[in-house]
């Protein structure tokens, strides 16, 4: 029998079978990645659906970001399953009373939608490359055109309609995907820490801030790498979006915690002991103080004082990075935290994360950062914010697009 390495030390009274923490760090990584997908898609949709043209410089990048991370969504689950070879049973014979049963369908549908929207969005570039390039890369682009080289004004207009429709469908799909992840936890009545009607909303809005923060970090990082100026109007728009949604997240999470404490049902003593003890730093300090309140204050200051230029870029990027850490901590505090409070309500356990192994810290880190490598590849193949987008605009006579130049006054 394989050695059981993930034994959890405990204090107080816990059920004997609880002494192994069954959902590892990978299950915390899973909603984190899913949330990044939903959040990045939200940014893309702000441009595609709501015509917020200040987000144009990041719209296609956000779409590629969403797609890159979506490719990795199933991996933490597959690595966690005892029998990954039976994973398809979830789709072949779904047990429909299970909150987990339709995940396969939703995820597959959403992946298909992202790929289709991506294809329409990058079609002018694909056609251009198919016509200009030769060799294997040319063949690759020619295959991707699916035989359609028509990039006339009419065709582009038609494509825009498709992109709009897909983005409109994609918003509920992306948000449904993530709200649903929250429901997987919130619907369980076995743990007071999870059992909350607010859980899907908490997951959803924290997903949005994480995705917006990720797009900010990647956009600023890519501008530095490419030595191109950051579009400050776009960045300020992202900062305002982040600011607004952080407010919602803080309110929702505060309400959720207040509900647990105020209702003070059986087991509240253990919960209070937990949040004021082992969870003090991960929950109050990192997730709330450093990850939510600090960026909120920084962003408030930047917006209120009309800060622009390098200070704006630095402030927003720092805020975005803190939000990314905060949301990861939120996933950890829910998934691992929930299991560290015993179902008995009379004891606490300590999850000891493995470093190596299938469900260890290294695997988790690889899963979080690997999508960035895929994104790098995708951006090389389908560069966003290139001149073809300008042509796309000209063809479709979209007005009001912000030119991609630096240092616009806010």
């Amino acid at each position: 029998m394989p050695a059981v390495l993930d034994l959890a030390p405990y204090a107080g009274w816990v059920y004997p079978n609880e002494t192994i923490i069954e959902w590892s760090v990978l299950i915390a990584v899973y909603p984190y990645i899913t949330g990044l997908v939903a959040g990045a898609f939200t940014v893309s949709s702000l441009y595609q659906v709501f015509d917020m043209h200040r987000f144009k410089p990041v719209a296609h990048l956000a779409l590629l970001t969403s797609l890159s991370f979506m490719l990795f969504v199933p991996l933490p689950l597959l690595l966690h399953l005892g029998h990954p070879e039976r994973a398809l049973n979830v789709m072949l014979t779904p047990h429909l009373t299970s909150a987990m049963a339709i995940f396969g369908y939703i995820a597959t549908f959403y992946l298909g939608l992202l790929m289709l929207e991506g294809w329409f969005a990058f079609r002018p570039y694909i056609v251009e490359q198919a016509q200009q390039r030769s060799g294997p890369l040319g063949a690759f682009y020619r295959a991707l055109t699916l035989g359609s080289h028509d990039v006339s004004g009419n065709a582009m207009h038609y494509d825009r309609k498709w992109i709009f429709a897909l983005a409109v469908i994609g918003i509920p799909a992306a948000h449904g995907l993530h709200g649903y992840v929250g429901f997987i936890f919130g619907s369980l009545k076995s743990r007071e820490w999870w059992s909350s009607d607010l859980m899907p909303l908490v997951f959803l809005f924290s997903a949005i801030i994480s995705g917006v923060a990720l797009v900010i970090a990647i956009y600023v990082g890519s501008c530095r790498l490419r030595r191109t100026p950051v579009d400050l109007d776009c960045l300020k728009g992202l900062a305002c979006t982040l600011w607004g949604f952080i407010m919602v997240v803080i309110v929702l999470e505060g309400l959720e915690f207040a509900n647990i404490v105020y209702k003070a049902r059986e087991g509240i003593e253990a919960i209070i002991q937990y949040v004021t003890g082992p969870l003090l730093i991960p929950y109050f300090i990192i997730q709330f103080a450093i990850g939510a309140a600090t960026p909120l204050l920084i962003l408030t200051f930047l917006i209120w004082r009309g800060i622009t230029g390098r200070a704006l870029v630095a402030g927003v990027t720092v805020s975005a990075s803190l939000v990314l850490i905060s949301v990861m901590m939120m996933r950890w505090n829910v998934v691992i935290g929930g299991q560290e409070i015993s179902k008995t309500g009379k004891g606490l356990l300590t999850y000891q994360m493995l470093i190596w192994g299938r469900e260890g810290a290294i695997t988790a880190a690889v899963l979080v950062f690997a999508p960035l490598a895929v994104l790098y590849g995708l951006v090389r193949l389908f560069p966003p914010s290139e001149r073809w987008e300008a042509r796309e605009d000209a063809d479709t006579q979209v007005v009001g697009a912000a030119p991609e130049i630096a240092s616009q006054p806010a």
Partner: protein
């Protein structure tokens, strides 16, 4: 000269055809019966996991099993735990149990009970092995006001949260009330482990599937008692058919004021307790 007893050709043909028909009918009946029988067996087997296969003659629709625990009788000898581990091939360590026994001790002057179980490191040290179990005499010299033992196991709930959440239907409720797991279909996601409010489920690392008490389904479908009931020296564990008014479990429920664990979950457990205290959950 033609023989006298020669039958006319039409009669021969009639007999031949009639014979063919008889053979065909018999063959069809035999093969059809065999096929139907096989199908019925396949269906019956498909309803049951391999680790809990019932007798072919067993009809789950004719039973409604229930389990009783009389905590006032339990002496904490832990024979039930050891018997269960051997009977059901449960990993021989202090982290996987299909059944366990909890000890509640109220010391003089203390408001809450001190609770432990056989897996507690102090108790494991006393037994000397994770394969054998005993309760250490850890309260020796202290003033004990009240103390009792509570055997625990899967509650085979009427509305099992574990069955509700299984994404592939690998865990299911049988017609006789037992909640079972098909180890050949379980994907090992452990959602059911999280959903069970009683901590009755565990993950078997060797088989990479979830496991739990089946009320010794392989035994009860043969008319035997679950192993833990069989070995209990004080009859603290009671098992039987709730549909039979004279069964041990029916008498147990009728003659006692019973309660279930965590009724607020709505799971409607089918393990009934006598003699437990406010702190037992």
């Amino acid at each position: 000269m033609e023989p006298k007893n020669k039958k006319p050709p039409s009669q021969d043909r009639r007999e031949f055809l009639s014979g063919v028909a008889r053979v065909a009918a018999t063959t069809t009946a035999v093969l059809g019966g065999a096929a139907l029988g096989a199908l019925a067996r396949v269906e019956a087997k498909a309803d049951m996991p391999k680790q809990a296969v019932a007798e072919d003659s067993y009809d789950p629709s004719k039973h409604r099993w229930g389990f009783g625990v009389d905590a006032t009788k339990c002496i904490g000898c832990l024979r039930c735990v050891e018997a269960c581990k051997r009977e059901n091939d449960v990993p021989q360590d202090a982290h996987h149990f299909r059944t366990w026994v909890e000890r509640y001790v109220y010391l003089e002057g203390e408001e809450h009970a001190r609770i432990d179980s056989q897996q507690d490191p102090v108790n494991i040290e006393a037994s000397g092995s994770e394969r054998e179990y005993r309760f250490a005499n850890r309260y020796k010299g202290m003033k004990v006001e009240k103390a009792f033992f509570v055997p625990k196991l899967c509650n085979h709930c009427t509305h099992p949260a574990c069955v509700q959440v299984c994404p592939v239907g690998a865990t299911y409720k049988t017609a006789d009330g037992a909640v079972l797991i098909d180890h050949d279909y379980c994907i090992g996601c452990r959602y059911c482990v999280q959903a069970c409010p009683y901590g009755a489920r565990f993950f078997n690392e060797e088989k990479q599937v979830t496991d739990k008490c089946t009320w010794c389904y392989h035994r009860i479908t043969k008319g035997l008692q679950p192993a833990c009931v069989e070995v209990c020296p004080v009859s603290a564990r009671v098992f039987g058919d709730l549909g039979d008014r004279e069964s041990p479990i029916s008498l147990f429920i009728r003659n006692n004021r019973v309660q279930v664990l965590k009724p607020e979950t709505g799971n409607a457990p089918n393990v009934f307790y006598v003699g437990i205290d406010k702190e037992v959950s």
